[in-house]
C-alpha cells in the first residue's frame, strides 16, 4: 500500500531525540522568557507531543509576534509558488530556542550606547 502524507510523515529521524539525550527535558527551556520582536529558532523536541510545529518549520528562524500561556507565536517566511508568505504559527516553548542571528547587532547597540 502507498506511503501516505500525514502530518508527521517522513519525520522518523528529524523528530528523533539526539543520542543519549532522550527522556526528560532540561528545566531551563521552561525558564526562558520571550518578548514580542525577539528572533527565535524553531527546533522540534520530539518528546513533547503538544504544540509541535509542522516539519517544514523545523530549522526556520522567525520573530515572535504573540506570547500566550504556554506557547509563542512565531512569524516565519515560507515560499509558496512564486512568492514568500509570512506565516504565523504557534509553537510551544519546548520547540523554540532563542536565536543568535540578532545577537551581534544587539551587542553593537549596547556598545554604542
Amino acid at each position: 500500500m502507498p506511503a501516505g502524507h500525514g502530518l508527521r510523515s517522513r519525520t522518523r529521524d528529524l523528530f528523533a531525540r539526539p543520542f543519549r539525550k532522550k527522556g526528560p527535558t532540561p528545566l531551563s527551556i521552561y525558564l526562558r522568557t520571550y518578548k514580542i520582536g525577539d528572533y527565535v529558532d524553531v527546533k522540534v523536541n520530539g518528546s513533547i507531543h503538544k504544540g509541535m510545529p509542522h516539519k517544514f518549520y523545523h530549522g526556520r528562524t522567525g520573530r515572535v509576534w504573540n506570547v500566550t500561556k504556554r506557547a509563542i507565536g512565531v512569524e516565519v517566511n515560507k515560499q509558496v509558488g512564486n512568492r514568500i508568505i509570512r506565516k504565523r504559527i504557534h509553537v510551544r516553548v519546548e520547540h523554540v530556542q532563542p536565536s543568535r542571528c540578532h545577537e551581534e547587532i544587539l551587542q553593537r547597540i549596547k556598545r554604542n550606547d
Binding site: R20, K21, K22, G23, P24, T25, L27, S28, Y30, L31, R32, T33, Y34, K35, V67, T68, K69, R70, A71, I72, V93
Partner: protein, 300 residues
C-alpha cells in the same frame, strides 16, 4: 557456577544514558518540578514561588523558593532546629512541630515583604480549613506546595506544615482532603481531630497510654520529654505559647560561630604553577652542579 561471563560490555557503557544527577540521587522528581516551575509566558519574569517542605530524620526544612536559570533562589527558610529559640525543645519532627515550622516561615516571609500587618492569618489555631482573604492594598502572597518525593497520604506531616503556613497568612491552593482528621467515609474534615494533631494531642494520648500500660517503655521513648519535665496535659499549653512567640518575633536569630579551627593536613598541598617551575629550576641547578662536580672528578 562461579564464573559468569561479563554482563556489561564496553558497548553497554558507551550507549548508557545517565539520568539527571538529582534523579540518580533520588532527590528530585523532575516531572513534578517542571509543572511547579513552569510560569505562563505572558507573565514574563514574574517569579513563581514554591513552598518546599522536606523532612529529615531529625529536622524539618521549610523554604520559599523561586526558580531561575542560575539556580533556585530562596526567599526565606525555617528549620525545626530553630524552634528551641521559640520554646519548643522536644519532638522537633512531629505534626505539631511541622505546623510551627510552617507558621514560622509564613510569618518570617510576610515580615520580610512588609505584609505581616495586613495578613495576620488565623491567630487561634482551630483545625478548620482557613484561606486568606485578600486585603485592600496588596494581594496575598501566593505560593505552591512542593512535597518532593513524599507519599501524600491523609495526615502526613507536610500537610501539617501547609496548615501552619496557611494560618500564618500565605495563599496556598489546597483542599482539606489530606489534613489529619479527614474521614474518607463522611468526606469531611473532622476539625476537632485536626486541632488535636496541631497541638500534639495524639502525642499526649500516646504518652498517657504508655504511662499506664508500659512505664518502662514510656521512660525510654519519652526520655527527653521527662528530662524537660513535659507532661501529657501540658503539651497543648506549650504549643500555644510557641505559636504566640513565633507571631511576636519571627526574625531569624543569628548565632555566634567561631571560625573553624585549623585541621592537620594529611596529604600534600598542591603546588601552584610558579612553585612547580621554581622547584624544577632548583632540581636542574642541583643536577648541573652535581654533574659539574663529577666532571671535575673525572677530569682529575
Amino acid at each position: 557456577m562461579v564464573f559468569v561471563k561479563a554482563q556489561k560490555s564496553k558497548a553497554y557503557f558507551k550507549r548508557f544514558q545517565v539520568k539527571y544527577k538529582r534523579r540518580r540521587e533520588g532527590k528530585t522528581d523532575y516531572r513534578a518540578r517542571i509543572r511547579l516551575i513552569n510560569q505562563d509566558k505572558n507573565k514574563y519574569n514574574t517569579p513563581k514561588y514554591r513552598f518546599v517542605v522536606r523532612f529529615t530524620n531529625k529536622d524539618i526544612i521549610a523554604q520559599i523558593v523561586s526558580a531561575s536559570i542560575a539556580g533556585d533562589m530562596v526567599l526565606g527558610a525555617a528549620y525545626a532546629h530553630e524552634l528551641p529559640h521559640y520554646g519548643l525543645e522536644v519532638g522537633l519532627t512531629n505534626y505539631a512541630a511541622a505546623y510551627c515550622t510552617g507558621l514560622l516561615l509564613a510569618r518570617r516571609v510576610l515580615k520580610k515583604l512588609e505584609m505581616d500587618d495586613e495578613y495576620e492569618g488565623n491567630v487561634e489555631a482551630t483545625g478548620e480549613d482557613y484561606s486568606v482573604e485578600p486585603a485592600e492594598s496588596r494581594r496575598p502572597f501566593r505560593t505552591l506546595l512542593d512535597v518532593g518525593l513524599v507519599r501524600t497520604t491523609t495526615g502526613n506531616r507536610v500537610f501539617g506544615a501547609l496548615k501552619g503556613a496557611l494560618d500564618g497568612g500565605l495563599d496556598i491552593p489546597h483542599s482539606d482532603k489530606r489534613f489529619a482528621g479527614f474521614s474518607k467515609d463522611s468526606k469531611q474534615l473532622d476539625t476537632e481531630v485536626h486541632r488535636k494533631y496541631i497541638y500534639g494531642g495524639h502525642i499526649a494520648a500516646y504518652m498517657t497510654t504508655l504511662m499506664e500500660d508500659e512505664p518502662e517503655k514510656y521512660q525510654s521513648h519519652f526520655s527527653e520529654y521527662i528530662k524537660k519535665g513535659l507532661e501529657a496535659d501540658g503539651l497543648e499549653e506549650m504549643y500555644k505559647k510557641v505559636h504566640s512567640v513565633i507571631r511576636a518575633d519571627p526574625t531569624p536569630k543569628k548565632s555566634e560561630k567561631q571560625p573553624p579551627k585549623e585541621h592537620k593536613r594529611y596529604n600534600l598541598k598542591k603546588l601552584t604553577y610558579e612553585e612547580r617551575k621554581a622547584k624544577l629550576i632548583e632540581r636542574l641547578n642541583a643536577l648541573n652542579a652535581a654533574a659539574g662536580a663529577d666532571d671535575d672528578e673525572d677530569d682529575d
